[in-house]
């Protein structure tokens, strides 16, 4: 008890710094949130803290803690930050609260497309969308008379031209780090080719023409990438861009603002945001959203307060103060040049990331298995067959495929 009081006091003193500044009401229920730690979440939780009695955990490993923390009774965090993928385990375990009553009471200012509905019930409130899309150096491309690349063939042709002209050794950047990032690259390409990941009964279905085509495009790109691409994550690609080492990359919209950050970037104003290059079917990217959920294991008063604080976090003041940090879902958001790429990809018909339990396993199997193809240890059909085999083993262990 005593320890709890001390901890509480500590949390409050942190929360109290600069608190009660711009909040519409004074919060007297102690609240905690757990979310990812990127810039947008910092902006949102800072705005939430203005209501007082609130402490935020910004943790890049949040997805390992969240399911357990929400399953506890009472829940260890009242507010959770999730994306479309990390919502899945919470929905499966039934640990998030339907928000319809609260939306009716307080949510007049929310846009209809912020409400994430599952079977008609609002389970989460989205605050921003994110997608990987093409960023390119318009000065470099204009100098060589290259038009904006629309497909991966265009990207590869442009890369060849840039390399030939001796402007850059490695014109393409890519988030090809083995693991989640590399898996995501394949998901983009495969959906762009119009592929589907699963057949009946959660059985994998990636060993097909679309799968091979996706792999071949990935491999063709690596010819124009820094040979250390298998360790290159979003931050690394962002830095390559900022230092003028690459001319094109399919990178996250949330990294767009960094291109114009004068403290870090040598290419301010020279990077154009465009739609993700087309696959055979749709733009080769996936749309993600980030938003908040409330834990089901808490009292109604707490839920009431938590919802109001959360809304305060994503209100118009916060959005106008941090306009370029993300592609916000808010009436106050003015979509500038930086959001053009994400918007154009969505207009082109880009799919939402197909988050589900089986997809989580598939993404991991892809992330671990693709490197063998890129390094030349296996050919494309073998790689895809091995990934399917790995998926089946893991899915059986998880109970998603019956024996």
């Amino acid at each position: 008890m005593k320890l709890k009081t001390i901890l509480m006091a500590g949390a409050m003193s942190i929360a109290a710094t600069g608190a009660w500044a711009d909040c519409a009401f004074e919060n007297d229920v102690p609240l905690k949130s757990l979310s990812a730690g990127f810039e947008a979440w910092k902006a949102v939780t800072d705005a939430m803290a203005e209501c007082g009695n609130f402490s935020a955990s910004l943790d890049q490993e949040f997805r390992e803690k969240q399911p357990e923390a929400f399953a506890a009774d009472p829940a260890l965090y009242q507010i959770g930050g999730v994306s479309n993928a990390t919502l899945v385990p919470l929905l499966n375990a039934g640990t998030v609260r339907p928000l319809d009553d609260l939306v009716e009471k307080y949510g007049q200012d929310l846009l209809p497309n912020q409400l994430i509905k599952v079977d008609g019930k609002t389970m989460a409130i989205a605050m921003m969308v994110n997608a990987q899309h093409l960023m390119y150096r318009d000065d470099v491309l204009a100098e060589l008379d290259i038009e904006e690349p629309k497909s991966y063939d265009d990207v590869l042709a442009a890369a060849a031209k840039i390399k030939e002209a001796g402007v850059m050794d490695y014109p393409i950047g890519g988030t090809f780090k083995t693991g989640w990032n590399l898996g995501q690259e394949f998901v983009n390409m495969y959906l762009g080719e119009g592929g589907a990941f699963f057949g009946d009964g959660n059985m994998p279905a990636i060993n097909n023409e679309q799968g091979v085509a996706a792999l071949e495009t990935l491999k063709a790109m690596t010819d124009y990438m820094d040979p250390e691409y298998l360790v290159s994550d979003s931050t690394y690609v962002q830095q390559q861009f900022q230092q003028g080492k690459i001319a094109m990359a399919n990178l996250w919209a949330s990294r767009a603002a960094a291109m114009n950050d004068e403290a870090e970037s040598q290419v301010v104003g020279k990077v154009t945001m465009a739609a993700a290059p087309m696959g055979s079917a749709v733009p080769a990217t996936t749309i993600w959203w980030d938003g908040i959920v409330l834990a089901s294991n808490m009292s109604d008063e707490e839920a009431d307060a938590a919802f109001r604080v959360a809304l305060e976090g994503m209100d118009t003041d916060m959005v106008s103060a941090n306009n370029d940090v993300a592609v916000w879902l808010s009436p106050a958001y003015s979509a500038g040049d930086l959001a053009a790429g994400a918007a154009a990809s969505a207009e082109g018909g880009a799919k939402a990331y197909p988050a589900s339990g089986p997809m989580g396993i598939m993404h991991t199997s892809l992330g671990n298995g693709l490197a063998d193809y890129l390094t030349g240890a296996k050919d494309a059909p073998t790689t895809l067959a091995d990934i399917e085999a790995d998926y089946i083993t893991a899915a059986k262990e998880a109970g998603l495929i019956s024996n």
Binding site: R63, E64, A71, A85, V88, P89, A93, G94, T95, P112, N113, Q114, L115, I116, K117, V118, D119, G120, A126, V129, D169, K177, T178, G179, W180, L182, N202, D226, E228, L230, V231, Y236, W289, S296, L329, A343, A346, E347, A352, A355, S356, G357, P358, M359, G360, I361, H363, T364, N368, A371, D372, L374, T375, A377, T393, A394, E397, A398, G399, L400
Partner: protein, 340 residues
């Protein structure tokens, strides 16, 4: 010492060892033979996600775990025998690769790929650590009294650095156009990408590990050097023994028990090589057995994790260490018996 006093002294430590080592081990052992999974049902579900301006709603069939009345996921635990071990070892694939004589295929199967690297790493770093450790110890021992303290301190520094931090530093020094890579490129006048193929990564990992562990070996050997019989050394000098002969016939036999001790510690530690893999993000090229266990254990974004395979992989790692330790232990035991 009577039995009660002995028990009172040893009791707490035995209790702790049972609680924190034996019981978890038994639990892991048990889990490697069972699989716990939720019971899934297939349901139609409509999900709406934000697009731009409008919402996209899709109806699809999804697998969803069944919940009990209290809203907890219902799970079932099944005895699966050796299946988790089979899933880790993939014996059929491995055997096919071996009987075809196709080592490239074998080295793409996770467990065997990890085992290959783990063994190479362990067996190459072992002699290097011993030799470097001995070298540093002799150097300290020969240093003048006045500077001995600072020399010990400086040579111990690498051992003090937290492994993950150390590995990340090496990563940043060599990755892309890191300072040392840039220096090498300038010196050799060619483009160098150290993280673009497996062997350079492995060499960096081994160099790092030797740099990190040699000071530990050195400090143990330095302690041993203090007890070398000075009379034997002096008579050897009078008999005209060279420095190398004194080392070979007097110092090293004297240090042998310590060398075996350091070898055992190093075998145990380096068979569990892990920080190097994570810090270098090398899993595209190089993985280790400990990393494999960790990878099974980390939940994916949908919250699935492979506890059973992780347990099986952990047990296999332990068995591997036990086999490696047989050799130094047998030697110690023989020496021990011979001494009486």
């Amino acid at each position: 010492m009577n039995f009660r006093t002995f028990a009172a002294f040893v009791g707490p430590s035995v209790f702790m060892m049972l609680l924190f080592i034996a019981f978890p081990l038994i639990s892991v052992f048990k889990q490697s033979f069972y699989v716990t999974q939720p019971i899934y049902e297939t349901v139609e579900k409509e999900t709406c996600t934000p697009g731009f301006l409008t919402q996209t709603c899709v109806t699809e069939t999804v697998s969803q775990p069944r919940l009990d009345e209290e809203g907890k996921v219902i799970t079932q635990t099944q005895y699966v025998g050796w299946e988790s071990y089979r899933n880790v070892l993939e014996p059929e694939r491995a055997w096919r690769a071996i009987s075809d004589g196709n080592w490239n295929v074998l080295s793409t199967i996770n467990f065997w790929k990890a085992l290959r690297f783990t063994l190479t790493f362990t067996l190459i770093t072992l002699p290097l650590v011993i030799v470097c450790g001995l070298g540093i110890a002799v150097m300290i021992n020969n240093a003048a009294h006045a500077i001995r303290g600072p020399v010990i301190f400086i040579s111990l520094l690498p051992f003090i650095i937290t492994p993950v931090i150390g590995v990340l530093s090496v990563n940043w020094l060599f990755r892309g156009d890191g300072i040392l890579t840039a220096l090498l490129e300038w010196w050799l006048n060619r483009d160098i990408a150290l993280f673009a193929q497996a062997w350079t990564i492995e060499v960096l990992m081994m160099l790092y590990r030797v740099w990190h562990v040699a000071p530990f070996a050195a400090i143990v050997f330095y302690a041993g050097l203090q007890t070398v019989n000075q009379d034997s050394l002096e008579s050897a000098v009078i008999d005209g023994a060279t420095r190398w002969q004194r080392m070979k016939y007097i110092v090293i036999p004297h240090l042998m028990p310590l060398i075996i001790f350091v070898s055992m510690i190093h075998l145990m530690d380096s068979y569990r090589v892990f920080e190097e893999i994570v810090g270098f993000a090398s899993q595209g090229y190089v993985i280790s057995l400990q990393w494999l266990t960790y990878d099974f254990l980390v939940p994916d974004q949908a919250g699935n994790r492979s506890i059973s395979r992780a347990s099986a992989s952990a047990m296999l790692t332990m068995i591997g260490i036990a086999i490696l330790l047989i050799f130094p232990l047998r030697r110690t035991w023989r020496d021990h018996k011979g001494g009486h």
